[in-house]
């Protein structure tokens, strides 16, 4: 019975979403307060219903109720408890339910905290949110129902895909979904503004925190996914330009652009129409990601389901939401009021530059991801677009953007002075040059680009630090008073600094880990020693071991540095019994920010195994940088100050004529 309640709750949530998509909108357009007042409570009830059905599905997993088809196909009674729990979203139906749960959760948040929004804006926003939930709950019910039942179920399920039996499954999808789905709120706000034909101050105020929230989670989700792939797939790579990864990178790039244009909009009331367009694009790219992953267009770890009806359904949803919102944009945007004016050299100008590069980079990834699919669909020719394409398109777009990053925060609003801004960055520039020379000295001239990359990363980091130090006038007032001013700085200032610093860290990690990585592949017998980057790895032998639902062959290695014991590593190769599927469990030793990565290959019989060892200098900075970026986002959200960006009073009006915002 419990299962059926969950099913009914989901159906009720669908019916409620329909109400939410029609009644408040009618109210907003007709100016009827009572109809508008329906939106917040309904959004909360919808959330409660979806939460109930999610809890029921989770319960079915925990109790191994194989009369639920979804549980039968994706669970196993011997699976460890944590994977019974995370396995709820380790499959197509369950993960879509989590997606919808987060979607209605955000709707409920707007309903709950939106009291200071104009009523019609809140009603229209929630109505748009209602369309999205109705569309996706219908998708769930009609094509991927997680509550489909089996009459005489077998006694054992098919188990969860072994690659997903990892703590990463507990973290990566929820983070990523909060990111993806969080952008639905900015989308709903944008569409609501278009419907109502105006963008109020409150509207501008609301877009930034929601964007920040979604962006922070998406950053963490992508970083976690990257780290998971790195240690689970056994190849030592952390980014593969896999279409599914690109599907998450595209909304991230668009979301980063949105974040920056939302700042301009909040402070200066400029770039409103552009922000609306970006909000639409960002969520559209999130939907596109969902479509690519779910439709079976791609094959990868993420492609749980390859059912063409689902693909067609999502494609229809995609066309409705993207096409509909863009049509609305084309129709209504010209009616919106233009924002403030600013000169090309100004904080706004820098942010526009940032937007240009980010959207171009996003377009490059878009082309690289979809062109092969398009070509395959039209001509049947199969091509593979891999790292070389992205290195040649994405890379060159990132370099000028990164060079420009430190300039943005030091320019003033409306009209800035590039020379004065540059003077504030002398120290950062000097440090970057020093680090470049140092790297050349350390590694020689054979890799010309790598030291320049290190210099660029240092430039971004030092620029971020020097910006916040000059902001508190450390040179003028001395360290102790500067410190107290640092503490008193608003969260958004710290957020900017941290996020930009995090970008620098990530770039540094990427450059060093890819340029200076060392690799050795060897066939080792017990007692053999392999030497890599100053470490000696001794293979002590391998032994079989039994896990709850797998058997594994564990290799034991001792690592020494100059004869002194450093660590023991136990990489293994597992076979999961229910699916008879092998996985590789790499063993990683972290020293400082660098890692020694060890994974087992084929066993050769007679005790010999193929071993792959990598030394990856500073690789953890890639993910640490992302975490710092996300933290910066969180600090910035916590700063709930109302803000306005006004130019410093111009002593002499010498700047060029202000350019129109759009």
């Amino acid at each position: 019975m419990i299962v059926e309640f969950g099913h009914y709750a989901l159906v009720l949530a669908f019916a409620l979403s329909l109400v939410q998509s029609v009644v408040p909108l009618w109210g907003a357009l007709a100016g009827d307060d009572r109809l508008m007042a329906v939106a917040p409570p309904v959004s909360v009830t919808t959330f409660v219903m979806v939460l109930l059905s999610f809890a029921v599905l989770t319960n079915a997993y925990l109790t191994a109720d194989f009369s639920v088809l979804n549980v039968l196909e994706n669970s196993h009674s011997a699976k460890p408890l944590i994977y019974k729990f995370t396995g709820v979203w380790g499959n197509h139906e369950g993960s879509m339910l989590l997606w919808v749960l987060i979607l209605v959760f955000f709707g409920a948040l707007v309903g709950f905290f939106g009291g200071n929004l104009p009523k019609d804006l809140r009603a229209a926003t929630l109505a748009v949110q209602g369309w999205i939930s109705a569309g996706f709950i219908l998708f769930l019910l009609a094509t991927s129902n997680p509550f489909t039942r089996v009459v005489n179920p077998p006694l054992e399920g098919a188990d969860l895909n072994p690659i997903l039996q990892d703590i990463g499954l507990a973290i990566h999808p929820p983070l990523l979904y909060v990111g993806y789905v969080g952008f639905s709120i900015t989308f709903s706000f944008a569409v609501a503004a278009l419907i109502l034909g105006r963008t109020d101050a409150a509207w501008a105020r609301w877009v930034r925190p929601w964007t920040l929230l979604a962006w922070s989670f998406l950053t963490l989700g992508i970083a976690m996914g990257s780290y998971w792939a790195y240690y689970e797939l056994g190849w030592g790579g952390w980014w593969f330009w896999d279409p599914v990864e690109n599907a998450s990178l595209m909304p991230w790039l668009a979301g980063t652009a949105l974040l920056h244009s939302a700042i301009v909009m909040e402070r200066r009331e400029a770039l409103k129409i552009w922000t609306i367009l970006l909000a639409i694009f960002t969520f559209s790219l999130s939907l596109l990601g969902t479509f690519l992953v779910r439709s079976g267009v791609l094959t990868s770890v993420h492609a749980f389901a390859t059912d063409p009806t689902r693909g067609v359904f999502i494609l229809a949803l995609l066309c409705f939401f993207i096409g509909g919102s863009l049509a609305l944009y084309a129709w209504r945007a010209p009616a919106l009021k233009q924002g403030g004016l600013f000169a090309p050299i100004s904080r706004e100008g820098a942010l526009v530059l940032n937007n240009l590069f980010l959207t171009s980079a996003c377009a490059a990834v878009f082309v690289g991801t979809l062109y092969p699919l398009f070509l395959d669909a039209v001509t049947g020719e199969k091509i593979s677009v891999g790292a070389p394409f992205f290195n040649l398109t994405f890379g060159p777009l990132m370099v000028p953007l990164l060079i420009a990053v430190p300039f943005g925060p030091v320019l003033s609003w409306k009209r800035g002075d590039l020379l004065a801004a540059s003077q504030r960055l002398y120290a950062a520039f000097g440090l970057a040059i020093l680090m470049t020379i140092f790297t050349f000295w350390l590694w020689g001239m054979e890799k010309v680009l790598a030291p320049l990359g290190v210099g660029l990363a240092v430039w971004v980091m030092a620029g971020a630090v020097s910006e916040i130090l000059t902001r508190v006038k450390i040179l003028e007032i001395g360290p102790s008073r500067a410190f107290s001013r640092l503490v008193g700085l608003p969260g958004s200032a710290w957020g900017t600094t941290m996020a930009h610093f995090g970008v620098g860290l990530t770039v540094l990690g990427i450059v060093t880990a890819s340029a200076f990585q060392e690799e050795r592949i060897a066939t080792m017998r017990p007692g053999d020693v392999v030497e890599l980057s100053g470490y000696q790895l001794t293979f002590d032998g391998a032994a079989p071991r039994r896990g709850p639902n797998f058997t594994e062959e564990v290799g034991h290695f001792t690592i020494r540095q100059g004869g002194i014991f450093v660590a023991e590593l136990d990489p293994s190769k597992r076979v999961y019994t229910a699916r008879q599927m092998p996985t590789t469990e790499a063993a990683i030793h972290t020293t400082g920010f660098s890692q020694l990565y060890l994974s087992l290959g084929e066993s050769r019989g007679d005790g010999a195994v193929d071993v792959r060892v990598y030394f990856k200098p500073l690789i953890t900075l890639i993910w640490i940088g992302c975490v710092i970026m996300a933290l910066g986002g969180a600090i910035s959200i916590a700063d709930r100050r109302l803000r306005v960006g006004a130019p410093k009073p111009a002593r002499k009006r010498k700047s060029a004529a202000p350019a129109p915002a759009e």
Binding site: M1, V3, E4, F5, H7, Y8, V11, L12, F14, A15, L16, V19, V22, V23, W26, A30, D32, D33, R34, A37, V38, P40, P41, V42, V44, T45, M49, A60, T63, A64, D65, F66, S67, S77, A78, N116, L117, P118, D120, L121, L141, F147, T148, R149, P154, L155, E156, R198, D200, A201, A202, R205, G488, P490, L642, R643, V644, A646, K648, P649
Partner: protein
Amino acid sequence: MVFWILIAVMTAVAALSVLVPLSRARRSADTPSGNADEAVYRDQLSAIEAELKRGLIEPEAAGAARTEIARRLLNAHDAHGQETGRGSRGPGLKFAQGVALVGLPAVAVGIYLLFGAPDLPDAPLSARLEAPAEEQSVDVLIARVERHLSENPEDGQGWVVIAPVYLSIGRPQESARAYAQAIRLLGPRQDWLTDMGEAMVIANQGLVPAEARQAFEQAAAMDATAVKPRFFLALALGQEGKKAEAIEAWRNLLAGAEGTEAWVGAARNELAELSGSDGPSDPGSQTPAPRGPSQEDVAASQDMSPVDRQAMIRGMVAGLAERLANEGGSASEWKQLIQAYVVLGDRQSAEKALEEAQAAYADKPEDLSSIKDVARQLGLTGS
């Protein structure tokens, strides 16, 4: 019934979340959007004062910000002035109430009846496993023991319990593995060794594999009077083509029998088969003894339930039929297949097999006539 009441309660909660705000909204104060904008700007003004006090912004920057906000405030005020008062009449309210009272329950129940299975109870695994034994199917009982054994793989007695069950439900390989575990944990016993070997033979479609042979030899060494291992050893000798030794083994075995035992008939048949094909003139001499579902399998199926036995026999017959159709076989195998179909009550297939056998042995009159003899005894027409 309780189920439908709870469904009704859930629906009512959903409907109320629409109806309640519809009836209450008028009480709250009206804040048109223009006012909200002004509120935001006023908040911003006070925030700037606060920051100025804490020394976070320069006085001149604060002044500039104030001017900027004042400008926006004026704009917002102008915009607000143009707005007209908003009523709450019209068809919207009726529509919304109708949606909540009729539309919502109709859509929800309608869709649920389309996709749902209201009659199907939950079936958590632990409850299914813990239900009283007499209510449970063999599958559940087996699963119960299997779970116990996967948690306590060192429980030899458990393996002893499940081994014959596996054999009886047609999973001979697992049966053999279970016996092997029992022997590993509790030490070798003649009957376990024999039954393990038997399971291996059945898994191997009636042929005695080398490991099974070792098991039978070990069993026979432990108890020289045990009949079953010696029976299989004799069978193995025949299958290996060691005719003389096989005949001797069968004779020895039959010599110790009283003649009423279940296996005696099978042993006599084997012996007759071997002795009969002894002559050099016999065209069937190069064919080995019949494979497929032989006597030992039937013996193994003695303690099965009728349904299981039937299923096992059907599986074996299907295997034999396939092999004969693809690779051909000896006349005695064809006879066996025809007989098996008749025993299973499938006369149509028996007729078909007879036809195929006649076609296969059309140029060997001796075999052909023996096949026809069998068919006649079984009452087949043999067209």
